[in-house]
Subunit: 492 residues, 2 copies
Amino acid sequence: MTDETAPTRPEARSPRGFVDRRARDLAAERQILTAVSAVYERYGFEALDTGAFEYADALGKFLPDADRPNEGVFALQDDDEQWMALRYDLTAPLARFAAQHWETLPKPFRRYAFGPVWRNEKPGPGRFREFTQCDADTVGSARPEADAEIIAMAAEGLVAAGLPAGSAVIRINNRKLLNGLLATAGVSDERQKLGVLRAVDKLDRLGPDGVRLLLGEGRKDESGAFTKGAGLNAAAAEAVLAFTAAGGGADRGSVLNRLADIIGGSAEGDAGLAELAAINTALKNLGVTEDQAVFEPAIVRGLEYYTGAVFEAELLLETTDEKGHPVRFGSIGGGGRYDDLVARFTGQVVPATGFSFGVSRLASALRAAGRDLAAETRGPVVVIAFSQDDMAHYFAAAAELRAAGLAAEVYLGSSGMKAQMKYADRRLSPAAVILGGDEIAAGTVTIMDLVLGRELAAGISDNSQWREQRPGQINCPRNELVATVAKIVRGA
Amino acid sequence: MTDETAPTRPEARSPRGFVDRRARDLAAERQILTAVSAVYERYGFEALDTGAFEYADALGKFLPDADRPNEGVFALQDDDEQWMALRYDLTAPLARFAAQHWETLPKPFRRYAFGPVWRNEKPGPGRFREFTQCDADTVGSARPEADAEIIAMAAEGLVAAGLPAGSAVIRINNRKLLNGLLATAGVSDERQKLGVLRAVDKLDRLGPDGVRLLLGEGRKDESGAFTKGAGLNAAAAEAVLAFTAAGGGADRGSVLNRLADIIGGSAEGDAGLAELAAINTALKNLGVTEDQAVFEPAIVRGLEYYTGAVFEAELLLETTDEKGHPVRFGSIGGGGRYDDLVARFTGQVVPATGFSFGVSRLASALRAAGRDLAAETRGPVVVIAFSQDDMAHYFAAAAELRAAGLAAEVYLGSSGMKAQMKYADRRLSPAAVILGGDEIAAGTVTIMDLVLGRELAAGISDNSQWREQRPGQINCPRNELVATVAKIVRGA
């Protein structure tokens, strides 16, 4: 270091809340996106990619979970003084795009999209300011079949991504049901209705008794802190609780019957019931089983955003936390029907419905379900380089492996054999290829099976027997190189 | 519209310089990235994805074309007052990442990356502020084989992306050659050397006579404007011109021989010659033909960035502009060796070499070469919806088509037959499926071949004969639906 340069050297670090993703995690995410995209395209949804920026006035404030207080965007002023902001989800850009091109779009407009979104929040463990979402939406169809199709597609997408059949379920509700019930009970104040939704949303954590208090006057928690309730009378509170208990794992037809008994009477409630019934018919037509999708009136899913059907995909597997305690994994995605996005721009109410999931969240769910896509990722076969004079031999070996579809490279650093083996290990290589002077003279090749080597190191294989046989080191004729390596890479 | 909402409605428009990409263009870009990624992974390069933002001090100013005056980034201040900026290329984040993790990375570190980059420039026709780049770099190897491998990989990647073999060539030069020649001629002033590079860079446009003037005192253009020259004496200028003329389509070995005659003498020139000779040997070992890669001393490729080998991929096809005049398509990507990126952070000089291309530029090159990936994209098969009572029939048909891997959907809007056919046409559907009451009763299905319909509309097929046969409308037994549609989608 010289005195002149030292003081000006920046520190190499990524901004807070932004992460670098290496090959293994990327491979898992790409596999998910490729599989899900294929499903969405088979359902007739077209890909759309909008830019990272939107004008701030066009972006608006449409986050599903408006409850989070410090919600923010990354915004800056363009040189013509207009404010632009990075998109915080994929729905707001869809709304802008649909409004901008509505006249010429095929209608209903069905698109899927994936890509990074940015939220200017306080970063923390597992809480990033940039993450990848994947959305599918139908814009311009009010038909319940459009909701059912989104649900069918989401269910098929989760399986295609690698979730074992039966390990996740999509829970469906309709915002109109509770609204109808409250209308019948004489509750019309929007803030009171919001309080009811907030109370129901705590059912998982507080149970019916806790929620009953929050539906009524309020609840004091263990610390003594008091949360003001929604102020329903006892009859209305019991009706709400009966409503939220109407799911409980029954088949969709039975839940519909129970709901009809609880809800009926108001126009909005009847509309909600009719929509759910039509969704059920369409789900049957689409081949969505009772295992894949259930009606669950306890689902809230966002507070002020959805206007009709809402759905939430949940991983059913019980997983364990760091201390080994069983925990529910919970939601891996969700969506529903919303009608106000395009109207913001055009004044024209255009019905829309969609489903969204976070890609790294789904990757975590896959890991929890025993499918660690990242762990299945391997590095390239490494051809060890001993001598400059023999580079032609090394490159020829690598080329043969590549031509057979196997990732392979010649080591191009300047270190010796030991460092090269360490390099191959760090790259998670399945094999190292050794073409020393002896091998070249004899027309053979030595192949180190690093998969077996790792198993031995991890104590996975019984190694007493293997050791005597010099496990993982194979000398074979040079013309058997590709076949031998292929056997290691693809499993014996 | 009401008076309250009308004044607050934002205009639906995307920010200047940002574009929405629809299915066709996206399909083309994804096909390119998938094909090129597969090649890069087969060469042992691992995927890396860094965040959109870097701290401004870490980002630095490392654009290859530092000549552009209004170069800018999108920057904003984080809540801890540190300035962050969106990456303007993929090399600066690589430098930051490599410096940050150098101790633990496998070395040489070989990564490829693709993703959006952002430049805060004045947008214009064909000039965007967000575009997708795809890079591959080897960090930590000074060996010419590393350059050769990048070149081999780039050549294979272009073919994998769809460029017909022989339609593109990679031209290779080494910055040290001209430096050596100038050293021998007694030119050591950096500004003068930069002037020489600028002059050589204009060879295509001005020819040798124009460049001779720019190498000497200067040149007056047609408008009378005077450009000051690099100030070389006549002998030095002729040596530079002889150097730039040493390529001219000869095979790599011959160009090397010619260059040895012109360059020899200086340490830097000799080093450049030795590197090119080693690159040539490695290219042969890697199976890169003379058609795919040539030595071309006239290549400049950026001015202050590269330190050794430089390469540029060029489309050889002559294309025509809007007025039908023949034009050279020009560069579709490039790269070279650079040694200063990591040193900015750590003080440690780490040699690196890489290749980069813009994805939409390559898509344009593919179109120019007759491979319009976007035009090959099709929409889904549309099942026409006549009656709510028959939805089960429609969904069953769509499900069968999907199960056979064909994209299909039931129309879920609220319009009649005519609008549905128009919808299918806008979606670029290959076929529409008609299951009216008559078909259902008879156990048949009517299929409209929209591919043929479009050919007829475009006058591509001879239609006198076809018309009599009611072309494009097929009535077949219901159980032949999938086979009949598959024949249309996949070509008869």
